[in-house]
């Protein structure tokens, strides 16, 4: 904010002078609208009742004074002067319905703009004059402060716990494979049975005749398999002879 001289406390300055002329110091104004507003205030009437023509004359006179003093005048002040001169002529000359917007409307808009700026300027002053926190009213000087403590709320329940332990135990224990007791004909039993039944049987007899009776298909399969292996073993020992006429054909057994 370096160099900003127009501060709160000098807000009312520059104050309107008694004369309807103001001391020429263009540097005091924040643009032509600001200058116009200050000039308008010297009319000492409500802005809605001010004379636009008088205001135009005030402004043009002010700029003329500045010129005679050979002050450098920023272009926007001159643009405003030219526009105001045009407005004045429009207001004084007979109405030309072709011209849109009409000079009266332009004058009204200028007045509205000045009102608006004035309203904001006064509003600003009223704001600044309020009881301001840290200047007129004060918050607690040394508040203890409020704290937020983050705390984890754990969702894990007992089942999670024992399930986890179960997993660990399952991982750690050596796997123990237990095969269910199944109804089978062991090879020993099959050898015993086949050698007993084949006896001195010299006729070729299909292997199924040597199988024990059973309703259990699992057992029958097991008996067939073990009896087949038994015949092979007995054939190796030279106790039986085997014959099969073709692949997948019935297998025949007889005493050797």
């Amino acid at each position: 904010m370096s160099g900003e001289q127009l501060v709160l406390d000098s807000f009312e300055a520059p104050s309107p002078v008694e004369d309807d002329r103001l001391t020429v110091d263009l540097g005091s104004w924040e643009g032509p609208l600001d200058l116009l507003l200050t000039l308008a205030r010297t009319q000492k009437v409500d802005l809605r009742e001010m004379s636009i023509l008088a205001l135009v004359d005030q402004y043009l006179a002010y700029i003329n004074d500045a010129r005679t003093l050979k002050l450098e005048i920023a272009a926007d002040y001159l643009v405003m002067a030219a526009w105001l001169a045009y407005l004045k002529s429009g207001l004084l000359l007979p109405k030309d319905p072709e011209i849109e917007p009409s000079p009266e409307e332009l004058a009204l808009r200028l007045q509205l703009r000045l009102e608006r700026l004035n309203a904001m300027r006064e509003a600003g002053a009223r704001l600044m004059a309020r009881d301001r926190l840290g200047r007129d009213v004060f918050a607690r000087g040394a508040p203890e402060g409020l704290r937020v403590v983050r705390k984890a709320k754990w969702d894990s329940g007992l089942f999670d716990l024992i399930q986890a332990y179960g997993h660990i135990k399952a991982r750690a224990e050596p796997p123990l494979h237990i095969v269910h007791q199944r109804n089978v004909l062991t090879l020993e039993e099959a050898i015993d049975r086949v050698s007993r039944l084949v006896g001195s049987m010299v006729e070729w007899t299909v292997i199924h005749r040597f199988l024990p009776e059973s309703d259990d298909p699992q057992f029958r399969k097991s008996a067939l398999a073990s009896s087949f292996v038994a015949t092979l073993e007995l054939a190796r020992q030279g106790k039986v002879a085997l014959r099969q006429d073709d692949a997948f054909a019935p297998l025949y057994v007889r005493a050797a």
């Binding site: 904010m1 370096s2 160099g3 900003e4 001289q5 127009l6 501060v7 709160l8 406390d9 807000f11 540097g27 005091s28 104004w29 924040e30 643009g31 032509p32 609208l33 600001d34 920023a74 272009a75 926007d76 643009v79 405003m80 030219a82 526009w83 045009y86 332009l106 808009r109 200028l110 509205l112 703009r113 009102e115 608006r116 700026l117 309203a119 904001m120 300027r121 006064e122 509003a123 600003g124 002053a125 009223r126 704001l127 600044m128 309020r130 009881d131 301001r132 926190l133 840290g134 200047r135 007129d136 009213v137 004060f138 918050a139 607690r140 508040p143 203890e144 402060g145 409020l146």
Partner: protein, 209 residues
Amino acid sequence: MTEMMIPDPTQDDTRAVEATLFAATEPLSVQDIAAYVGPDVDIKAALQSLAALYANRGINLVDRGGKWHFQTAGDLAHILRREREESRKLSRAGIETLAIIAYHEPVSRAEIESIRGVQISKGTLDVLMEAGWVRPAGRRETPGRPLTFATTPAFLAHFGLENRRDLPGIDDLRAAGLLDPVDLAFDALDLQGGDDQDTPDLESDDESA
């Protein structure tokens, strides 16, 4: 006694809200307070009760845009006003810009410039934002999508306003049509006589002038 007219929260609830607001380093909303005192406390009733209790005391409980805080009573300013000079003196441009934003928000930079008749120098909005009083308030869905500005809860707190309706004279200004949206294009025509710029031909408003 105003306390008699409002629901009387339990003494403990009131104390809890009171302590929370005292300990806080910044203004708190009802929700903020609830996070500390718990959901079962009728915070609004407690706030009303406390505000009434403190109304005539050296410190007051005030509502600033839905955020509550304790502050010293305004009439004691002469005792407490700090000797040290105000560290932040707003420039005239700053004050006017702040007033325009507060009374018109959300308002674009071009609209502010139109009302003031000069361009805003770079620092003006920065200073207001740095003070925590003004914030960008989104872009307007018009050509160019200009950024708009609005005031903050800190603005309300600093200037002792309960809400924007408390802005001095805002109802009168609105009734007089002085807060109506600015007709930028038309205003530009007025000032420029057809030039294509929307503000008078300035480099900037020189606030060091």
